[in-house]
């Protein structure tokens, strides 16, 4: 078995057993990136030199017995996280020249746990997109089929992990941006409860929805990564101040006594029968392991796409106002006056999708429209949370498809944003409610991976990780890898 075929957890065992050094592991993955990423385009920036030096530091610490949770493990960060001294572009021309003077809390925490940063991964511009086609750095390709999208917005992280160019990566999820690309590339990704992972240094898209999380080959890998990412942060007022959970302790716990809820609304008549079937098959596997499957109802979930596409653009329109060409980032050539500076810097610095969402959000917050759009969307949000609360009275976890489709061809929806938005139907409600959810591969359709989603109650990341890990112990969908780059 080649090194890249190992999960993060297995690589950790190899490091801990002294079978390999961090430097060797790091060089190995840097070489894979060098060799294969030209075609995949999953990285915006590769920090080879820094990675080698971090690996050497990790090896030196290990020899002194100072071994962090992620000691010496190479990972990639989505280019939405600020990294000191390294370009942090957020997939945008606006920040193509932006070298962050500080580290995001996630980056800092993972580094202090011993992680080695291989580089920064490609993404939809400002995390706005579900196909990774809105990046200023060009689309990321899906390693299962280079003519298809990897999903988005954390498409670079997903593709890099799927192609085994990195053992793991960070992502962010505002409306499905970790789970949907995880599903479309056959990996496991987790969006934690809102407020569990600090947002400090994570460039904001929609502040009330954004949450960072891990992307890797398995649920056990995600648990390992998540453990090093969480914790209260004084620098983020929405960061929750509660004791840190242990995500690793109960990973192997048997599923006897567990109740799994299948929401009828996640199986509409229009859903691809093959996706519905593999989701039900997943439920049957959990049943075989002792879980009870019940039907639950989330009637307001059908309102989640319109509510989301008011709230997220509204917050984004304000969050992205700071990119004005005045202090940092892109500035147009020779502005004639202040208005010209603003207009051209923003028109030239932002891509179409970002501008579309800024316009939608600006409109939704405008005088006379606020009540009809923003306020009503907030009420829908409350209804959705209430739906989930009722469902969690009947079930411990909720299971459904992650995406209504498998990876689609590049360019297929580029000019049809509404169809693109509608595909977010299963992931968005979770963000609106602030709940934790995980996507894991659960089958193949026409040679492409398909994912299912496990939604947990607040702070029950441990439970969905446990369910996913038990599932992965009994199945091998998560061990399937694309032929690209010899990942298999």
């Amino acid at each position: 078995m080649s090194l890249h075929q190992h999960t993060l957890t297995e690589l950790k065992a190899l490091l801990d057993g002294g079978d390999i050094s961090s430097r060797e592991l790091t060089d190995y993955f840097l070489a894979r990136i060098e060799r294969f990423d030209g075609e995949l385009n999953s990285f915006v920036t590769v920090t080879a030199e820094q990675a080698r030096s971090e690996a050497d530091t990790a090896d030196a610490l290990r020899s002194k017995g100072e071994i962090g949770l992620l000691n010496g493990l190479p990972i990639a960060h989505k280019d939405i996280f600020c990294t000191r001294g390294v370009r942090t572009s957020c997939g945008s021309r606006m920040l193509d020249n932006f070298i962050s003077p500080y580290d995001a809390t996630v980056v800092e925490k993972m580094r202090s746990a011993g992680a080695v940063m291989l580089g920064k991964t490609n993404m939809d511009e400002f995390a706005m997109g579900s196909s990774n086609e809105t990046s200023f750095y060009g689309p990321v390709k899906n390693p299962w089929d280079l003519s298809r999208v990897p999903g988005g917005s954390s498409g670079g992280s997903a593709a890099a992990v799927a192609a085994r160019l990195a053992p793991a990566a960070t992502g962010t999820d505002t409306g499905g941006s970790i789970r949907q690309p995880a599903a479309l590339t056959g990996i496991t990704g987790l969006k934690p409860t809102y407020g569990t992972v600090s947002r400090w240094g994570m460039i904001a898209f929609a502040s009330s929805l954004d949450q960072a999380g891990p992307m890797a080959q398995s649920a056990a890998d995600c648990a390992l990564l998540l453990q090093s990412m969480v914790g209260h942060d004084d620098k983020d007022s929405t960061s929750l101040n509660r004791p840190t959970d242990n995500y690793l302790a109960d990973l192997d716990k048997p599923l006897a006594g567990l109740t799994v809820g299948l929401p009828e609304e996640f199986f509409p008549a229009s859903l691809d029968g093959r996706i519905a079937e593999l989701t039900r098959e997943t439920a049957r596997e959990l049943e075989r392991q002792g879980a009870r499957v019940v039907s639950v109802s989330l009637p307001s979930v059908k309102l989640s796409v319109p509510a989301y596409y008011v709230i997220a653009p509204a917050e984004a329109s304000s969050n992205l106002s700071r990119f004005d060409g005045v202090r940092y980032g892109y500035r147009c050539q020779d502005p004639v006056d202040l208005m010209d500076l603003y207009k051209r810097s923003r028109s030239e610095g932002f891509g179409d999708e970002v501008q579309r969402r800024i316009l939608v959000g600006t409109y939704a917050l405008s005088h006379g429209y606020y009540d009809a759009y923003y306020l009503r969307a907030q009420k829908v949000r409350r209804l959705i949370s209430d739906d989930f609360a009722r469902a969690f009275e009947k079930a411990d976890v909720i299971l459904g498809p992650t995406s209504p489709e498998v990876a689609f061809p590049l360019g297929a929806k580029k000019d049809d944003p509404v169809t693109m938005y509608m595909a977010d139907v299963f992931t968005i409600a979770v963000n609106l409610a602030g709940l934790p959810a995980l996507s894991m591969p659960a089958g193949m359709i026409d040679g492409l991976p398909a994912g299912v989603q496990l939604v947990g109650n607040y702070f029950r990341e441990d439970q969905i990780l446990n369910v996913a890990n038990r599932y992965q112990q009994a199945t091998d969908w998560h061990r399937q890898a694309p032929a690209f780059g010899g990942a298999q």
């Binding site: 600020c82 962050s100 400090w200 460039i203 106002s321 700071r322 005045v326 202090r327 940092y328 600006t362």
Partner: protein, 482 residues
């Protein structure tokens, strides 16, 4: 009498005296190198987030308690979105629908001693913007973000004031209140208080309010008074010529005394307010409020009443002496040491205030200690020095020459009350001025009164001002008439 009535409402930005900014740990100190006190948050770097400074919240609550306002147990920060180069995030974090301080009121003593109640609509917390610098950048604009994120409360009054005098009296009272409760340094020259005045006029007896204009950013009481007077005149002129007032924002130049329209209501921004998702609602418990209430010092209005009752001061004197904490503490110290409130008040509002004014100092940097001023008053009262000499002694105290007793001793300023020495001096004066003496004795009562001053002057000259004036008067009268 004018046929018009003026209606004024104020919005006052009060810079809170916190050490660090409202949403970052950067210092709020004034006058540092441009952009040296702008943190990652103040620069609005990507990925940065605000964390609320609890001290700013406490100060806002103290203000609310001091004006008898309702304190909202829950208040919410919102974003006011607009583009401006010195507004780094592209929005100002402020409060709108749910401010921290609700309705309250302040009673103001006017110059004529009458009292006026001004209602406060609400007060909310917000952050200040940076500064745009238009000089020295060769046609470009410089941006200094040191002030960006300085905590403010914006106090909004009801349109309860009816003249520039009332508005200024309110502004002064507010200034002394926020200084007294320690939430603002009160330094107007550094923009610690800035006033926006909303002015309208209506025919006397009319109930409906006229169309108002808002003149923004007045940073001195004098400019505020000028701006209101000018605006009232302008509006009345327009209305009397049959015109109508445009609702607009105006800027007033205090140096030229000219105001101009900045923007009209039509091209006002749509600020697209919405609750800031980066900040939680501010929640206050009963205990926190009670604790803050108990930490409030005596308020200027309470002190004013006490000064009138305890020391028998006039309303005017009491208002002047109670307006700021340093002055009233100083006054009380001098009274305590000298036991004479009247003389203490006279000296502080007279000689001392004039010196402070002339040297542009405030009471906190006054070189004459309360101890020294009380010592001076003691020497006046026991006739060691005359009030004329007292001014010399005061001057010397101001210049740091020591205590009044040391100065009187060192300069030999003790009043001469030795009747033998004085009689000798008077005899000499009579002898030296034989012609004047002759004339005096020949004159009638009315003329004598006028001429008497000459002899007093001679005596003071001869004694270098140290002669006890009462004794000199008596001895001279006897010598001239005897």
């Amino acid at each position: 009498m004018s046929a018009w009535e003026t209606v004024i409402g104020l919005e006052i930005h009060v810079q809170l005296a916190t050490r660090s900014k409202i949403f970052s740990a950067a210092s709020t100190a004034f006058g540092a190198e441009p952009n040296s006190q702008a943190s990652l948050v103040d620069l609005a770097l990507p990925g940065t987030l605000p964390v609320l400074n609890r001290e700013a919240v406490n100060m806002a609550v103290k203000f609310g308690l001091a004006v008898g306002a309702g304190i909202n147990r829950r208040s919410v920060f919102e974003r006011k979105n607009y583009f401006y180069p010195d507004l780094p995030k592209g929005y100002q974090t402020t409060q709108l629908a749910e401010p921290i301080v609700g309705a309250g009121s302040m009673e103001v003593v006017l110059d004529d001693g009458s009292r006026k109640t001004v209602r406060i609509h609400h007060a909310h917390l917000e952050e200040d913007a940076g500064k745009s610098l238009h000089e020295d950048f060769h046609g470009m604009t410089g941006i200094d973000l040191n002030r960006a994120g300085t905590p403010l409360i914006e106090v909004v009054t009801e349109p309860d004031m009816r003249s520039a005098e009332e508005a200024v009296a309110f502004a002064r009272a507010l200034h002394s209140l926020v200084s007294a409760i320690g939430i603002c340094d009160g330094d107007m020259s550094q923009g610690s208080l800035r006033f926006d005045v909303n002015v309208s006029v209506r025919r006397k007896g009319e109930e409906k309010l006229g169309t108002r204009t808002e003149t923004k950013n007045l940073n001195s009481f004098r400019f505020m008074e000028m701006a209101i007077r000018k605006e009232v005149e302008r509006q009345i002129d327009i209305l009397e010529d049959g015109g109508s007032i445009t609702q607009e924002t105006r800027l007033f130049n205090g140096d030229t005394g000219v105001s101009r329209a900045m923007r009209s209501k039509e091209d006002a921004n749509d600020y697209r307010y919405f609750p800031c998702p980066d900040l939680l609602p501010v929640m206050l418990s009963e205990e926190q409020i009670i604790e803050l209430e108990s930490s409030l010092p005596e308020l200027p209005a309470q002190r004013l009443v006490r000064f009138v009752e305890q020391f028998g001061l006039s309303d005017y004197d009491a208002r002047t002496l109670s307006s700021d904490l340093a002055t009233s503490d100083y006054f009380e110290a001098v009274v305590q040491l000298s036991g004479d409130a009247k003389l203490a008040a006279n000296w502080i509002m007279g000689e001392l205030a004039a010196k402070l004014n002339a040297e542009e100092r405030t009471m906190s940097t006054c070189p004459v200690s309360a101890d020294h001023l009380a010592g001076l008053i003691d020497r006046l009262k026991d006739n060691t020095i005359s009030s004329k000499i007292a001014k010399q002694v005061f001057e010397a105290c101001w210049n740091g020459e020591g205590s009044p007793d040391q100065i009187i001793e060192a300069r030999g300023l003790k009043q001469v009350s030795d009747s033998g020495a004085l009689r000798k001096m008077v005899d000499q004066i009579i002898a030296d001025n034989a012609a004047q003496t002759e004339a005096y004795r020949a004159a009638d009562e009315a003329k004598r009164k006028k001429m008497f001053g000459f002899f007093v002057g001679q005596a003071m000259k001869a004694s270098q001002g140290k002669a006890n004036p009462q004794q000199i008067n008596e001895l001279l009268r006897k010598a001239l008439e005897g």
